[in-house]
């Protein structure tokens, strides 16, 4: 379990980090918490010449709760999301989801930026970000641009981020007051990825629904959200089950995954409705 050799870089600012990415092209990868990348390197499924550690870049840290949006630096850890005071009030679903990710040790170092940028269909935050209609800030040699979470995921591990770009921040609109939300995840054991997970927001005539690990990207279904907004829970579930595309793996056959998907979705809807005010 020893990774192949690489050169280690710890730039002090974003410009230097992008410079190293430009210099070494696809030989270089950035690392945040490292709890997706380092295991892959140990298994030699990822080999790279240059590892760029982002831990010293202060501009990529912190949580700012504004009037309409919450901006979260990509290097913010899951633990920091859980213990932050204002975030729990503005976006309780974020804390609820973060508490269901991995285990305490992983949450201390695992970051929201790494979770959304990696493009792993098993990660929880991408589906949640699509449910919340978040935007990702990508900075590269030519400056910054924003991409909607709903447009970011192309296939497993393939995203709209260019090789020389770094995902620096996540901007999340705060749902209207009274909106109910819930994140429900079914997993085999602590630390596992979801067999199925559902993120649900439901407000006054509005709703948004996304699911995790049931296709090679997260699935946000406009039709499912519209049905739920109209109070049609069966229609919401039908639309979502039509949109997902689970594959058989060690978490079960396709029929089982569809069954679990329907169960967690209905639980999330019930919970979100009960929290609506």
């Amino acid at each position: 379990m020893i990774p192949a050799g690489f050169e280690y870089h710890r730039p002090a600012d974003l410009t230097s980090a992008i410079g190293i990415l430009q210099e070494h092209g696809d030989e270089a990868r950035v690392v945040a918490g490292g709890h997706s990348l380092i295991p892959m390197m140990k298994l030699r499924m990822a080999e790279l010449g240059h590892l760029i550690d982002l831990q010293d870049i202060d501009a990529m840290k912190g949580i700012a709760v504004g009037g309409d949006t919450v901006t979260i630096g990509a290097m913010t850890t899951q633990h920091e999301l859980i213990v932050h005071d204002g975030l729990g009030a503005a976006l309780p679903i974020l804390r609820e989801a973060a508490l269901q990710i991995a285990d305490p040790q992983v949450r201390y170092v695992g970051t929201i930026g790494g979770n959304v940028a990696n493009g792993d269909p098993g990660n929880d935050m991408p589906g949640l970000m699509q449910c919340l209609n978040a935007r990702f800030d990508l900075t590269g040699p030519d400056g910054s641009r924003q991409v909607a979470a709903r447009d970011f995921y192309e296939a497993a591990y393939f995203t709209a981020r260019e090789d020389e770009e770094i995902l620096t921040a996540i901007i999340i609109p705060i749902p209207a007051p009274g909106t109910g939300s819930a994140y429900i995840k079914q997993k085999r054991k602590i630390g596992d990825y979801a067999t199925a997970a559902a993120a649900v927001l439901v407000g006054d005539g509005t709703a948004s629904v996304a699911m995790t690990n049931l296709a090679d990207t997260p699935i946000w279904s406009e039709a499912a959200g519209a049905a739920l907004a109209a109070g049609d829970i069966d229609g919401c579930a039908a639309a979502m089950l039509g949109a997902i595309d689970p594959q058989e793996d060690m978490r079960g056959p396709v029929a089982f995954k569809k069954h679990v998907a329907a169960v967690v979705l209905r639980r999330a809807i019930d919970s979100a409705l009960s929290r609506r005010s």
Binding site: F6, Y8, R10, G34, P39, Q55, D103, Q105
Partner: protein, 164 residues
């Protein structure tokens, strides 16, 4: 691959050494610094036997490169004894409540319990179980580990009260 110079604080002492960048913190601790409290269990960031405290956070040192630890404050189970070398409170409670059988997971369990009780000095049983979810034990069934951590909380709080 050339070696890099690494320096950090380990159990209150400054330590340094040379290591290839691909060296994992657990290997640097055990093989270069001869600090063998943290164990190598699964090596895949599941079991928690390699848990150390880094800048006030429990981390799995099998999933940290040594360069990432440069400049940090690291505590291992060796750093949780009393100044005179006798067992610290959590270590003593694990002994008293039989919170171990084979002992392999114990350094990670105690190091994790230390941080958990720093953050939450009065945990419920459920909070203890949730808080040690990243540490696997294949012997005890966890009952006595949970008892030991709850007893540690009680004793640490009593000592704190007595000091005030």
């Amino acid at each position: 691959m050339s070696k890099m110079h690494v320096k950090f604080t380990l159990n209150g002492q400054d330590v340094e050494g040379l290591a290839e960048p691909r060296t994992l913190l657990i290997h640097f601790l055990r093989e270069t610094l001869n600090v063998t409290g943290p164990h190598i269990g699964c090596e895949t960031s599941h079991c928690g036997a390699c848990t150390v405290d880094m800048d006030g956070k429990s981390v799995k040192s099998c999933t940290v490169f040594v360069g990432q630890a440069d400049g940090r404050q690291i505590t291992t189970v060796e750093g949780l004894t009393n100044a005179d070398g006798s067992l610290g409170v959590i270590q003593e409670m694990f002994r008293e409540h039989h919170g171990l059988q084979c002992g392999f997971c114990t350094p990670g369990m105690i190091t994790r319990a230390h941080r958990l009780l720093q953050e939450n000095p009065n945990p419920t049983e459920e909070e203890v179980r949730f808080g040690i979810a990243g540490n696997l034990c294949r012997c005890t069934g966890y009952q006595n580990i949970v008892k030991a951590i709850l007893a540690s909380a009680e004793q640490l709080n009593a000592m704190k009260e007595a000091a005030e």
